[in-house]
Subunit: 229 residues, 2 copies
DNA sequence: CGAAATCTTGATTGAATTCAATCTAAGTGG
DNA sequence: CCACTTAGATTGAATTCAATCAAGATTTCG
């Protein structure tokens, strides 16, 4: 198997000044910062995991492929999110920039050294646990929710993470579809029907700027979990 | 919200002799052993996580429910498997005995004390990572595989874990369906077609004893992941 | 400008669900 | 022991939700 190394496609550091600001710290933990153009790979599945990443600007998708090209996006990483953190030696996903993206890089080995400190070690565990929780909820969505419920859940998730009134979806309909286990046509139809129902409003043509007019009604489309067995 | 405590439905300890064997160790880590009858709850979603469990005999299902009763089984726990391990205070799944099941119980707090040791701490992380990996692969299955591919993947997973030539599926068709995001009828149809195709043979009426005649051909039904993006 | 990219919308198809009937094995109780 | 019920599974027919196929619209880009 041919495995590209991450170094092969590391872009240029952003600015010297940015390095200058924190150069002392950088030398210790191996911190640096890089820009990835839209749709470029940050790391590939099965590649050795050399760095851990944090999104500074932009958005990233992590996905797995089947041999015939079917794709399942496991997560979108937005500003502030950490991704590419592995316990083993290999990345278990491919990560790509959804739009032009700036990421902080930290050498994995420096993190592993730091993990001797119980505080760091506990943080590593709780980060992994958060990823696990997300995956668990996503299994429920993928296995048991309808198209409308999936899209509603997606919008609420994004809205929740955006914080602001207006929410921008940096990813394409195809990305959304591959995240929700649908086709892009179905995603488009559901979004259209939600717009017609007055639940949301598109602000631009490619309709990646969205205003939720009625979170309450949207939430009605997404059946919450139940505690009673 | 009404939350039952685990203590409410703790069954009797199995035998005094079993306790006698390891009583010194038991007192330290709070180890004990219990039997759960078929289809009884071991712990419920959102309940405080007091114990961590290991299957000694039998099988367990972990699942989430939607408010209208749709169920997604996230994992089956077979002999040797550890389940109910939480980082936070609450269980994120309901766990039930698939068949009569004996489980070892360890107090969570004793585990947390032990986690001060780096070895234990690292084990905790790698256990969580294994769960995460399983969930990630299952997302791909749920979101992007067809019915035949799902059932094939399930059989291969069970076969791999069983080790032996003959494999016994302790869970019902409904359990399998809720694990794969299908209906029980679809699972039944696919299994029938695989039997007719000669890939497997049922040994009993309820067809939970299965022999895989042709792992190779079964694997052809399950498209493996691809590394190339 | 023409070409490519992205999205929407319509028509049709199809895979899996739903509904329904049947089968076998395993209780259950008189 | 045997009729009767129940549980689990299979199978067939009908239905449906989402996928597929196809066309067209708007924007972006070379």
């Amino acid at each position: 198997m041919f495995v590209r190394t991450t170094a092969d496609r590391l872009p240029q550091p952003n600015t010297l000044s940015e390095f200058g600001l924190t150069s002392a710290f950088n030398r210790i933990v191996g911190l640096s910062e890089f820009t990835y153009r839209k749709d470029t790979e940050i790391f590939g599945e099965k590649e050795p995991a050399v760095y851990v990443y944090q999104v500074k600007h932009g958005a990233v998708r992590s996905y797995k492929l089947l041999s015939d090209g079917r794709r399942q996006i496991a997560a979108f990483h937005l500003v502030g999110d950490i991704f590419g953190l592995e316990n083993g030696d290999e990345h278990r996903f491919t990560a790509e920039a959804v739009v032009e993206t700036v990421a902080r890089l930290v050498k994995r080995e420096s993190l592993e050294l730091a993990a001797r400190a119980p505080v760091i070690s506990r943080n590593l565990l709780s980060m992994t646990t958060r990823n696990l929780e997300h995956a668990e909820n996503h299994m429920l969505l993928l296995g048991r929710k309808t198209a409308v419920e999936k899209v509603a859940a997606f919008l609420l998730e994004m809205d929740c993470r955006a914080g602001a009134d207006k929410m921008s979806l940096p990813m394409s309909r195809l990305d959304i579809a591959d995240y929700l286990g649908l086709t892009l046509e179905t995603v488009s139809r559901v979004l259209s029907s939600l717009r017609k129902a007055g639940v949301l409003t598109f602000l631009d043509h490619y309709q990646r700027e969205i205003v939720l007019n009625d979170r309450r009604r949207l939430a009605d489309f997404d059946p919450q979990g139940s505690v009673q067995p």
